[in-house]
C-alpha cells in the first residue's frame, strides 16, 4: 500500500492513546493509526499506560495529577528513545504540563520524584511529547503528503477547528493565535479550507455534561460561524471537540430551530482517505451528524451501498 521508498529509514514512534480513544474518540485513534501505517511510520502503543487525569485531577489534587503523568513519562523513557505521539489534547497537555512544572518548580520535582521512588517506578526522562499535527507537519511534511495522496478531495469546503489545549499554553502543535498547519496539510490533498476566526475558541470541554446549556451554546456559536463562513464540514484534532460538535446537533436543531447537519471529521480521517485508506479503518462510519455527506464524500459507489 504505502510506498515508503523515499530513502529515509522508517521512523518509529511511541503512541499514547488515552482513555477516549477507546470510547467516544475511537475514530480518532483508528484514523491516526491507519494514516501512520499508510505513511510507512511505525507506531507502538505505550505498554500499560494510565489515564492522564484530565481536568478532574487538576481540580482535586495537583500533585496526584502530576504523578499520573510522571508514571506515563517513566514508561515512555523505558520504552526507548522515541517521541511519544499523543492525539488526545487533554493527555497531551497533562504530559507537557507535568514536564514543565517539574522543570520549573523544585518543590514539585521533589514531590513527584519522591512519589515515583516510593512506588518503585523508575524516574522519568527527557521524553519528547508530540501531537500528531506536529508530527505530520514537521516530520512528514506537506510535500510528502501531497506526493503520497492517491485520491483527490471531491467533498465540500472545510473549516479547520484547532480547539484549545494542543495550542495553549505551549503552542507546540502549532502557533497559538492563528494556527495554519491543519489548513496546509488538508489543502495539500485538495481541500478548500475557509478562513475561520473561531478556530481556537474553546468548545467548553466537559461543560456539555455538567453545565449543559452553556456547553451546548458554545458549540452552537462555533457551528453557526462554520455555516456563515460557507464551510460544509469541520475538521478537528481533539476527541472532545469532535464529540461536542458532533453529538449535540440534534439538540441545537430543536432549541434554535436551525438545521445543522454538519459532518465533524478528524483531520487524520481526511488525510488517511486521501492516502488510500478505507472507510472503516478510518472510523468514518462513526460520525453522528452529516452522515449523508460523509457517505457521499468518502465512498466509492460500491462502498456506499454497504454503508447506507
Amino acid at each position: 500500500m504505502a510506498n515508503s521508498t523515499s530513502g529515509q529509514e522508517k521512523k518509529s514512534y511511541l503512541y499514547f492513546p488515552g482513555c477516549t480513544m477507546q470510547a467516544t474518540g475511537i475514530a480518532y485513534g483508528e484514523s491516526v493509526r491507519t494514516l501512520f501505517r499508510l505513511l510507512g511510520l511505525q507506531v507502538e502503543e505505550l505498554e500499560d499506560w494510565n489515564c492522564c487525569g484530565a481536568t478532574s485531577y487538576m481540580s482535586i489534587d495537583e500533585r496526584a495529577a502530576f504523578v499520573l503523568s510522571a508514571r506515563n513519562l517513566s514508561l515512555a523513557r523505558q520504552a526507548g528513545p522515541r517521541d511519544l505521539v499523543v492525539p488526545c489534547t487533554a493527555c497531551f497537555l497533562m504530559l507537557r504540563k507535568t514536564q514543565e512544572y517539574v522543570r520549573q518548580y523544585p518543590s514539585i520535582r521533589q514531590e513527584v520524584e519522591g512519589a515515583l521512588k516510593q512506588a518503585g517506578i523508575p524516574p522519568m526522562g527527557p521524553v519528547r511529547v508530540r501531537h500528531p499535527l506536529d508530527v505530520l507537519y514537521s516530520d512528514v511534511g506537506v510535500e510528502q503528503i501531497r506526493a503520497k495522496a492517491t485520491r483527490r478531495w471531491h467533498g465540500g469546503r472545510l473549516a479547520c477547528y484547532y480547539g484549545c489545549q494542543a495550542l495553549r499554553p505551549y503552542a507546540e502543535a502549532d502557533q497559538a493565535y492563528n494556527p495554519m498547519r491543519m489548513d496546509e496539510l488538508l489543502q495539500a490533498v485538495g481541500v478548500t479550507t475557509v478562513d475561520f476566526p473561531l478556530k481556537t475558541k474553546c468548545c467548553g470541554g466537559s461543560l456539555t455534561g455538567t453545565i449543559h446549556p452553556v456547553g451546548v451554546r458554545l458549540n452552537y456559536i462555533i457551528l453557526k460561524e462554520v455555516a456563515r463562513r460557507g464551510a460544509q464540514a469541520v475538521a478537528t484534532m481533539c476527541s472532545l471537540c469532535q464529540f461536542n460538535l458532533d453529538a449535540y446537533q440534534s439538540e441545537m436543531r430543536e432549541e434554535a430551530h436551525e438545521v445543522f447537519d454538519v459532518p465533524i471529521l478528524y483531520f487524520t480521517q481526511i488525510l488517511g482517505w486521501a492516502l488510500g485508506g478505507d472507510f472503516r479503518s478510518l472510523g468514518l462510519h462513526r460520525g453522528i451528524a452529516g452522515r449523508n455527506l460523509i457517505g457521499q464524500w468518502f465512498t466509492t459507489p460500491k462502498e456506499v451501498e454497504a454503508y447506507v
Binding site: 485531577y57 510522571a70 499554553p169 503552542a171 474553546c202
Partner: protein, 198 residues
C-alpha cells in the same frame, strides 16, 4: 443548577475591608503557577479572551483582583471557577503572562476541599468520581463516569442524555469496558506517598 446563586446576586452587599483575609490571598499567590497575581494591572484582556466570561458572575479579571484582596468567600462561592473550562485563552493573551487558568484550578481545589458548592452540583461530583475511578483502575471510562455523576447529582438528566447515548452506541463509540492496568499497585503507591502540607 446555577439559579441557586440568584438571590445572592440580587442582595449583593458592599464589601468591607474587614471581610477580607489578606493572608489567604497571599497563600494563593504563593502557589506554583499563581505567582503572577500580584503583577496584574487589571487590564481585562483575560475577560475579553475568555469564551465563558459572559456567563460568569465574576469575570476572570475580577477574580484576580478579588483573590489579591483576599475576599475568600466571594471568590470560592462564585460560579466562575466552575464555568472555567481550562482553555488557556486568558493565559496566552495576558500581557503580564499571568497563569489565570492555574489560579482557577487552585480555587476549584480549595472549594472542593471545603465543600463550598451547592448540593448536588455536578462538577465536583464528576471530578471526584473521575479521581476515584482512576485511582482504583488506572483508567477511566466515560460511560460509567457520566452515569455516576448523573445518579448523584440529578438522575433526571439521564433522560436528556439518552439520545446522545443511543447515537454513541449506534456508532460503536460507547464503551462499557472496565479496564484495569497491570501497574495499578505501583500507581496507588505513588499516589499515596507522603506529601508536604500545602
Amino acid at each position: 443548577m446555577l439559579g441557586i446563586y440568584k438571590q445572592e446576586a440580587y442582595e449583593r452587599h458592599l464589601r468591607f475591608q474587614r471581610d477580607a483575609d489578606p493572608t489567604w490571598g497571599r497563600k494563593i499567590t504563593a502557589l506554583p503557577g499563581c505567582e503572577g497575581i500580584l503583577t496584574c494591572m487589571q487590564c481585562g484582556t483575560c475577560s475579553a479572551a475568555c469564551p465563558l466570561s459572559v456567563y460568569m458572575d465574576y469575570t476572570p479579571r475580577r477574580i484576580i483582583a478579588t483573590v489579591r484582596e483576599g475576599f475568600r468567600e466571594d471568590v470560592l462561592r462564585s460560579q466562575t471557577i466552575w464555568l472555567c473550562a481550562s482553555c488557556y485563552a486568558c493565559r496566552v493573551r495576558c500581557p503580564r503572562e499571568i497563569n489565570i487558568t492555574d489560579v482557577m484550578y487552585a480555587l476549584k481545589r480549595e472549594a472542593i476541599r471545603n465543600r463550598m458548592y451547592p448540593p448536588h452540583f455536578p462538577i465536583p461530583i464528576l471530578a471526584r468520581a473521575f479521581f476515584d475511578m482512576v485511582k482504583r483502575r488506572g483508567r477511566s471510562t466515560e460511560f460509567w463516569l457520566v452515569l455516576r455523576m448523573a445518579l448523584r447529582s440529578n438522575p433526571l438528566i439521564l433522560l436528556g442524555m439518552a439520545k446522545t447515548g443511543w447515537h454513541l452506541w449506534r456508532t460503536g463509540r460507547l464503551s462499557l469496558g472496565y479496564e484495569k492496568i497491570r501497574g495499578v499497585g505501583e500507581l496507588q503507591k505513588a499516589l499515596a506517598s507522603p506529601r508536604e502540607e500545602v
